[in-house]
Every structure is written in structure tokens, then in C-alpha cells.
């Protein structure tokens, strides 16, 4: 048993007050000559022992009352038998290395102190009671041993402890323990211990095994201490944020899905959560969270800015604020220059080959990309400079000159996108000859859907339906149910392709006949998509289906390599990729949250990606070419977040049985949890004693009254 205020135990002397009062004020007996002494003698025999017992009991109760008040005021508490650091208290000699977890979760504020402050207090308390060699390892953003070798100069350790601040990483504890083992391994003979002060969850994580002790040496003891002493450490965190275009809500609309987790045993009702864009709160909302559950809060926002804008989802602050915010950049939609070649222009707009494509890629409907559409007739295609465009669409184009074919080949290989759609004007042999190096398969001829009999019968049976979908393909990824949306489209005719075992392309969609309907192929840095149907209603009704719009947008985004905004967080300490496409850029400048600028040189390997290593702080990182280039002032930035996987500070459930190392950990944690304050119990006993004293007095008074 220990006391929070042991000095107050001096009050225990008050227990002597009742006997002292008794002795001081002890009365001298009055002398009475009395005739009926025999009755007194008889009565005394029967009652005196009981009466004396009662008197002694009363005095004991009063003494106990006084002592209990002092006892309760001294705030006693019991440490469980398995108190991890019990062996250290009062230990003489030996070596101990304290490993203090200074990761970001240690900033958790429990009552009036952070976990890190509690860890510091614990180390200082243990140092007070320990006399031997001690060392300190701090596992924060890096592993440090401020004093170096174990020493008996505790002042240096205390000074290092005073400067402790939580870091931003949470992956150094194992390294810290390994460092502690190194330190303790060279210590002189005697008991050797490594005490790890961390969260309950940290104490339960796998740590390096102690080194094997030399012959005759006691093994190194690894003691894990939950600095929260088993007290609940409820926390909540944003574990993920996803951005996706929301074209159904209009141009420039984005959907933000924030996944919030509760690591508490109590439900949370109406947790305030809001979306900030450029430092201003845009949308506020609430979220209900069950105990230990996750929930997703969805926001919609519109981005009109042409530059990347910092944004964040923010939870109402709790005891650990670092994981209550998730920052990300809202990137403006990239501009896609698209050249559409109309192989079958018609005066009636609805019948025009590009009527539906034009509407599907109109700026007001496109989300996540700003498409600049240029439409040309097949006859003027020959004169177009392809390098002015990002994507070329050949819609029902019958034939191409070999020069154009070579130009397209070069365009694609340089990173351009090409979409080829079929139609009555397409001459498969011509296209095969000119675009053979780009097309995923060789075109054979046009085929009416259904078998011959069905064709004769006419009617709906001749239509094929789209039934095979590669859901993992980036084009189809946004479709939650492609069979339900795209599968409704009917295909009357399509271009048959030669089966090719070594075909380079991938089939994205196919009809129920088994014929490929949409194929993609990557040719060096460029991409090609082949639609075996038409972009108008000549061969099927896909263009009038609602799913056509997102399908076409996805195809264009795929061809230009514009993916959904990548909101995957860069965790503190991890390398952040920098998307630099412009070949002119030789060096970029990365500005961190604290304003520090870092320069990143172009990788020597042309295939290697640009990465930024020094992600030491959570926050926004802005990237700009160094020096600035004409037309390219800023590059997409990135945001760095603390590791949300360690937001759950709770340890394993103590009652859950386990085997192996987990048992030791659980025992240690259970021991920490067993620390119970006793002053409540002392007050309860005090109350009971007061009642007992009252009862004793009442009995005596009643006896006197009866007499």
C-alpha cells in the first residue's frame, strides 16, 4: 500500500487522544457505604466483563475513528500484486534503463497532465526510490539516449526528462527498446531491467526480446508500464478521408467522406464535425458513434479556385487533438484538351456522331476534370497538331492516312490518350493497317448481336447486353453496380475483334455474347481505349443511358491518367511522392507546415518517382518548381498526418485469455489496473465506525434510562 500524501500520516498519532483523555480525566472512585454489597458482587460477576469489553471497544472505535481520518486524508492506494515497477521500488544496485515513449499519442491529456508528463513523473518517482545505475532512452521522432551510458548521476536524467515533448511519430518504441537493451547489455553484473513507459496499447505491442544473458548473469527484465495506470483513455480520430467527384450535384462539386472512429467504451451522440476549406468552416455536421465503432460523415463542397486549396475535416477536440483533424489539398480539376474527330457528321444534331460525347463532356457536367473539347471533321484531321491535345477521339472514322497513323502512334507513346469508337464508316482493314500498333486487338468485321435465327426474327432478341465487367479496372471503379447501370444498355451491333492470346489490352466490358465491348491498352506512356460500339445511337442505346456520362468521363480521365484525388495520407516519417510530370522541372521546393523550405532534386533515374523524405510534421506541404517556370507556378502539394492506426490507446481487454507474450503484457496491464485508491473505503469504514459508536452509546443510554 502506498500513500499520495504520506506526510499526513502523522495524523495517526491522533489515535492516542482517546486513551490519553481517558487517563487524564480518569475519575477517582466515590466511596459509598452500601448495605446490599452482595447484589453488586453478583451483578459485577455477570456484567463487568461485558461492560469492560464495551468500554474498551468504545475506546478502540474512537481511536480508530481518529486514525482513519488521518489514513483517509493521506490518500492510500493499493498497488496490485503484479505492479510492474514494484521490483524497482527501494531496489539497491543493479541497472535500469527507462524507455519513455514520446510518440504523439503520449500528448493525450488525462486529468490535468499528459501521458508524457505522467511518464516523466513516474520515472522521477522511481529514481527517488532507486539506487543504482540508470539510463534514459526517449523514443520520440527519433531514438535518443540523452545521457548515454547508465549513470548514477540522476540529475542529468532529470534534466533530460524536464525537456520531454511529444513527437509526431509513433513507430520508434521498438527501436527505443532495442537501444535500451544495447545499453543494459554492457552494464555491470547485477539485476538489469528495462522499463518501458507508454500507453496501454503501446505496452501491448510487440517489442524486441531481451538479449540472452551471459552465464551467471540474471536475464534482462523487460517491464512495461501503462502510464495511465489502467484508467480509461477514450479517444476519437479521423482515420480516413476520401474525395470523389460528385457530378450529379453540378460542376466542380466534390464529395468528402470522412471516416471517424471512436475508441471509447461509451457511445458518442452528436459529435460536432466540420469541413474547413482554406481555413474557413464550410460545412458543419454531427455524427453519432457507437462504442468502439466507426462512422462516415459525408460532406459536399464546391471548388471554384484554380489553385490547390488546403482543406481539412475537423472533429471537436478531445484529450488527444492530433488525430482530430485530417488535412488534405483540394486540387483544381486538371484541364484536358480533347480532340474529337467526327467520322459521321450529320446536320441533325441528335444524329451527329459526336452529339452525345459533346454533352457528356460539357464543362458543367464534368467533375474532377475540365475538358476543353475540340471537334473536327475527319477531313481536316490531317492538319491538326496533336501535341496541342491530351486525348484524341476517333469516332466512326473510316480511314486514316499512314502519316496520321504514325503521328497518332508517336502521340500515344509520348503520353497521349486515344479513344477509338466504331460505326458504319469504319473500315476495319484500314484501321488495322494504320493503327495496328495501338489498338488492343485487330478489328475484324461488324457483327449484329444475337444469332442468325434471332436476327431473322427481329425484335429485341437481336440486341446483346453488357454483362461482363472488370470491376477492378479504374474506368469501372466508381460504378457501384455496373451490371445494374451499364448492363441495361442494349447493343445492336458491334465490331468483332480477332481473338489474340497475346493481346496486350484488357477487356473492361463485354457483351453477353462474349464479345469485348470496351478494351484498353497501355502503349508506353500513353493509353488507348477501343469501344466496339458507337458513340451515337446507331449501334445501340448506350449513349442515352445515364451511365454513359460517367463512363465517358472515366474513359477520358483514364486516358489522361487523371485519377481521383489521392487523399491517402502521408504518415509522418514516410516518404511523400511528388507528382512532377513537366519535364522542364529540375528541382522543386517543398514548404512544410512550419514554413521551412526543402529542395528536392530530380531523381537521377528517369523512371524513379520524385519523393520528399522529411515529412516530420503533420500539416500541409506546398510544392513549387524551383525556379518557377512559365505557366507552372505550383505543383500538387500533399498533406502529412499522424499515424491513425495508433489512435486507439486502449490496451487489450484484460479478461481476454491469450497465450505467449500476450499473457505477460496482460498481467502487467492488469497489475497497473489493480491500483485502487482506498480512501473511499476508509471513509466507508469511518462511517460504519461512527454508527457503531452511536449504537454503543445509545445502548448505554438506554440501559441507564431503563434503570
Amino acid at each position: 500500500m502506498s500513500f499520495l500524501a504520506p506526510a499526513l500520516l502523522i495524523g495517526l498519532l491522533a489515535a492516542a487522544i482517546p486513551p490519553i483523555i481517558h487517563l487524564i480525566f480518569r475519575r477517582k472512585p466515590k466511596v459509598v457505604r452500601f448495605p446490599a454489597l452482595e447484589f453488586i458482587r453478583r451483578s459485577q460477576k455477570k456484567t463487568m466483563r461485558r461492560f469492560r469489553m464495551k468500554q474498551i471497544l468504545l475506546m478502540l472505535v474512537r481511536s480508530l475513528l481518529m486514525a482513519l481520518v488521518a489514513f483517509a486524508v493521506a490518500r492510500p492506494f493499493l498497488r496490485g500484486a503484479a505492479e510492474p515497477t514494484a521490483a524497482l521500488e527501494g531496489a539497491q544496485g543493479g541497472t535500469v534503463v527507462f524507455v519513455v515513449d514520446a510518440s504523439w499519442p503520449m500528448a493525450y491529456r488525462l486529468a490535468d497532465a499528459t501521458l508524457l508528463e505522467r511518464a516523466r513523473d513516474k520515472v522521477e518517482n522511481l529514481l527517488d526510490q532507486f539506487s543504482g545505475q540508470a539510463a534514459l532512452v526517449i523514443a520520440g521522432d527519433r531514438v535518443e539516449a540523452p545521457v548515454g551510458e547508465p549513470t548514477s548521476d540522476y540529475a542529468a536524467l532529470r534534466k533530460a526528462l524536464a525537456d520531454l515533448t511529444p513527437g509526431n511519430r509513433a513507430d520508434r518504441l521498438a527501436d527505443g527498446v532495442a537501444r535500451a537493451f544495447d545499453l543494459v547489455d554492457e552494464a555491470p553484473p547485477g539485476p538489469r531491467r528495462v522499463v518501458v513507459l507508454t500507453t496501454a496499447a503501446g505496452a501491448a505491442r510487440p517489442l524486441p526480446e531481451p538479449p540472452t544473458a551471459a552465464a551467471g548473469q540474471p536475464p534482462v527484465e523487460l517491464i512495461r508500464v501503462d502510464v495511465a495506470d489502467g484508467q480509461p483513455v477514450p479517444n476519437r480520430a479521423i482515420v480516413d478521408v476520401k474525395l470523389s467527384p460528385a457530378p450529379q450535384l453540378g460542376a466542380g462539386q466534390w464529395r468528402v467522406d470522412a471516416r471517424v472512429a471512436s475508441y471509447a467504451d461509451e457511445p458518442i451522440q452528436r459529435l460536432p464535425v466540420h469541413l474547413e476549406v482554406d481555413g474557413r468552416v464550410q460545412v458543419r455536421g454531427f455524427l453519432d458513434l457507437g462504442p468502439g465503432q466507426e462512422a462516415t460523415k459525408t460532406f459536399y463542397t464546391r471548388l471554384d479556385a484554380k489553385d490547390a486549396t488546403p482543406a481539412a475535416v475537423v472533429l471537436e477536440a478531445d484529450a488527444l487533438e492530433a488525430d482530430d483533424v485530417r488535412r488534405f489539398w483540394l486540387q483544381p480539376a486538371p484541364r484536358i484538351r480533347l480532340l474529337a474527330i467526327n467520322g459521321d457528321p450529320r446536320p441533325t444534331p441528335q444524329l451527329d456522331e459526336l452529339f452525345f460525347l459533346e454533352r457528356a463532356l460539357a464543362p458543367e457536367t464534368a467533375a474532377g476534370a475540365r475538358v476543353v473539347l475540340t471537334m473536327r471533321g475527319a477531313d481536316v484531321f490531317e492538319g491538326e497538331e496533336l501535341s496541342d491535345y491530351d486525348v484524341v477521339v476517333l469516332a466512326n472514322v473510316g480511314e486514316l492516312s499512314p502519316e496520321r497513323g504514325r503521328a497518332l502512334d508517336a502521340f500515344v507513346r509520348a503520353g497521349g490518350g486515344l479513344l477509338v469508337s466504331m460505326g458504319d464508316r469504319v473500315k476495319p482493314s484500314e484501321l488495322n493497317a494504320v493503327l495496328g500498333s495501338l489498338l488492343p486487338r485487330t478489328l475484324r468485321d461488324v457483327r449484329a448481336a444475337g444469332d442468325a435465327a434471332a436476327l431473322d426474327e427481329g425484335g429485341d432478341r437481336q440486341n446483346a447486353r453488357l454483362s461482363v465487367f472488370d470491376r477492378s479496372h479504374p474506368i469501372l471503379r466508381p460504378f457501384s453496380d455496373p451490371a445494374g447501370s451499364l448492363g441495361r444498355a442494349r447493343v445492336g451491333r458491334y465490331m468483332l475483334l480477332d481473338p489474340a492470346a497475346d493481346a496486350a489490352g484488357a477487356v473492361v466490358m463485354a457483351t453477353d455474347d462474349g464479345a469485348p465491348f470496351l478494351l484498353t491498352r497501355t502503349v508506353e506512356r500513353g493509353r488507348v481505349a477501343l469501344l466496339t460500339g458507337t458513340l451515337d445511337r446507331d449501334w445501340g442505346d448506350l449513349p442515352i443511358r445515364p451511365a454513359f456520362l460517367p463512363l465517358l468521363q472515366q474513359i477520358v480521365r483514364y486516358l489522361t491518367r487523371v485519377a481521383d484525388m489521392d487523399t491517402t495520407p502521408v504518415i509522418v516519417g514516410q516518404a511523400a511522392p511528388i507528382p512532377v510530370e513537366d519535364p522542364r522541372v529540375r528541382r522543386v521546393s517543398v514548404q512544410g507546415p512550419d514554413g521551412t523550405r526543402h529542395l528536392v532534386e530530380r531523381p537521377t533515374d528517369p523512371e524513379a518517382a520524385w519523393v520528399f523524405e522529411a515529412t516530420e510534421q503533420p500539416g500541409y506541404y506546398a510544392v513549387s518548381p524551383e525556379p518557377p517556370l512559365p505557366g507552372l507556378v505550383a505543383l500538387p502539394g500533399f498533406a502529412v498526418a499522424v499515424d491513425p492506426t495508433v489512435s486507439d490507446l486502449r490496451g487489450p481487454r484484460v479478461e481476454a485469455p491469450d497465450t505467449g507474450e500476450g499473457d505477460t503484457v496482460r498481467a502487467a496491464l492488469a497489475g497497473a489496473a489493480k491500483r485502487t485508491e482506498l480512501w473511499h473505503a476508509a471513509l466507508l469504514v469511518l462511517f460504519v465506525l461512527l454508527l457503531a459508536e452511536g449504537a454503543l452509546l445509545f445502548r448505554r443510554k438506554r440501559t441507564q434510562a431503563a434503570a
Binding site: K30, V32, P35, F39, I40, S43, Q704
Partner: protein, 292 residues
């Protein structure tokens, strides 16, 4: 110092009363004491002054003619009741924190009884006793015998232990024929033979009445503080805290008195318990009315 036991006012009030021996000794209302020769014996004893309450027919009119004063004629009646008043003068009877000691109270009561007996022509004698026999005044019917009794009661020394049984046995020896034996004591000698001896007296056709005189302190035990109790007869000392034992004490004394009463009544011996806190006149009236 001599005790003052004669309360003239009381005696005056008692003058008109007869002592119904049957009630006194039997404790029941069986009617007036009927003496076959009441007040009309053949042998003249003395004159005494008339007091209100005396029967008119007992006035000696001749004497009135001579002296012009009302006198009552009294005769020695050899066949009348002989009463022996046994008064305990042991040390324990000297207790009395509230003015009157048990001995004073017992003496006053005995004197009142003697007064009544003598007033109605019965012979009254006195025997004092402690551990041994004290003084003895044989029963006489003469009016002045009362003053001898009173004088002895006032001057009798007090102290020493008690031997009630010896006193009763002695009374049995001296009382030759059917007599009335009135014992005034606190009966605190705890001799288990007391009831047996009393019954023995009763078998010899004596009428026996026991007047147990107790102090209120003995009956209530009103002590609170730690007390060194000193025995009044043996000087034995006993330190006790009355708070813790009062309940038991009261049970003990009640059991003792009840046991004594039961034993005596079973032996056809009358028993009266008296507290010195009770006014003597009321006690006498209560006894005369036959209440225990």
C-alpha cells in the same frame, strides 16, 4: 445519638385505629381483629386519656365524675395476643442517604405497631438483634410499656452483622404460647434458613409477619460514577462501575425479594416490603389494609 422515632402526630392519627392482626399477618382482608376479651378484661390495668376515636362506651364515667376529664379504662388481659417486635439493628440498617435510615424507619414502624397493639389491649414486647440478640422487653399490655419500647428503640446501638434466623429462633423460644411475631429487617443476611425458620414458627401456631425495610438506593441503584462500595457490616470494599451493571443489579435484587416473598408466603408467613421513601403513615395504612 438517640434516634427520634416518636411522631406524636402519627400516633394521634393512629389512635382511632385497631391493628387487625389477621390482615397484618395474613395479608388479606378478613375482618377486624376480634379479641374475645377485647377491652373488657377482669383485671384493671390503667386509665388513659380519651382521645378522639376511642369508643364512648369505654369511657370511665366515674373517673370523669372525679376528675372532670374523659378517661378510658384499660385492663390487663392475660388471654390477649402477645406480640414480639423483632427489630434488626445490624450495620446494614444504618443506611439512609435521603434523611431517614432503614433502622429509623423500621423503629418508627415497630413503634407504630406497638402503639396500635397496646392501644387495643394487646401485649407488645420488643427484641433487638444484630448478629446476636440485643435487648429484650417482654410483652406487656400496660400503656407505659410503649414508652419503654420507644425508649429502647431510640437508644439501641446499631452496627455489626445480621443474624435474622438466630433472632427468630430466639423469639420462638421465648414466646411460649401462640404469639404474633413481627420481624423488622432488611433481610440481607442471605441466610437460606430464614423461610424455613419462619415456617417453623408458623407451625407452632405463631403468627409471623416479615417487614423488609429497604432504602430506595437499594431498590433503584441510582449510582452513575465509578464507586468504591463499602459493606456496612463487614467493611468489605468493592470497586464497581454502576453504569454497566445496573440492569443486572436490579434483576438480582428483584429476584431475591421475590424469592423471599414466595418462600414466606408458601410457609403462611406474611411479607411486607417497605421503602424508606414511602411516608410511614401511608405504609402503616397500607399494611393495615392488608396490601403487601
Amino acid at each position: 445519638m438517640a434516634r427520634r422515632i416518636i411522631d406524636q402526630a402519627l400516633l394521634t392519627r393512629l389512635a382511632g385505629l385497631n391493628l387487625p392482626v389477621g390482615q397484618v399477618v395474613e395479608g388479606v382482608l378478613t375482618g377486624m381483629h376480634k379479641s374475645p376479651h377485647h377491652g373488657a378484661s377482669v383485671e384493671f390495668a390503667q386509665h388513659r386519656e380519651y382521645v378522639p376515636g376511642d369508643e364512648i362506651r369505654h369511657i370511665d364515667w366515674k373517673a370523669y365524675g372525679r376528675s372532670d376529664r374523659y378517661s378510658i379504662k384499660q385492663f390487663e388481659d392475660e388471654t390477649n395476643l402477645r406480640a414480639y417486635l423483632l427489630v434488626d439493628t445490624s450495620g446494614s440498617m444504618d443506611y439512609g442517604r435521603r434523611g431517614v435510615t432503614k433502622l429509623e424507619y423500621a423503629s418508627q414502624l415497630a413503634a407504630a405497631m406497638a402503639w396500635l397493639l397496646l392501644r387495643q389491649g394487646d401485649a407488645a414486647g420488643l427484641m433487638t438483634f444484630g448478629e446476636r440478640l440485643g435487648h429484650f422487653l417482654p410483652p406487656r399490655t400496660r400503656g407505659d410499656h410503649f414508652w419503654r419500647i420507644a425508649s429502647l428503640l431510640e437508644s439501641e446501638p446499631v452496627g455489626g452483622p445480621t443474624n435474622v434466623v438466630a433472632a427468630l429462633q430466639h423469639a420462638a423460644e421465648v414466646a411460649g404460647r401462640r404469639s404474633l411475631i413481627l420481624l423488622f429487617s432488611d433481610c440481607l443476611d442471605f441466610d437460606p434458613r430464614l423461610a424455613a425458620v419462619a415456617r417453623q414458627l408458623r407451625r407452632r401456631r405463631h403468627r409471623v409477619a416479615v417487614f423488609q425495610v429497604l432504602d430506595p438506593d437499594e431498590l433503584e441503584f441510582p449510582f452513575d460514577e465509578l464507586t468504591l462500595f463499602e459493606d456496612m457490616e463487614t467493611d468489605e470494599k468493592l470497586l464497581a462501575d454502576p453504569r454497566g451493571m445496573r440492569e443486572q443489579y436490579l434483576l438480582e435484587i428483584k429476584a431475591f425479594c421475590d424469592g423471599l416473598r414466595r418462600d414466606l408466603l408458601e410457609g403462611d408467613v406474611a411479607y411486607h416490603r417497605l421503602s424508606t421513601a414511602e411516608p410511614l403513615e401511608r405504609a402503616v395504612l397500607r399494611i393495615l389494609q392488608g396490601a403487601a
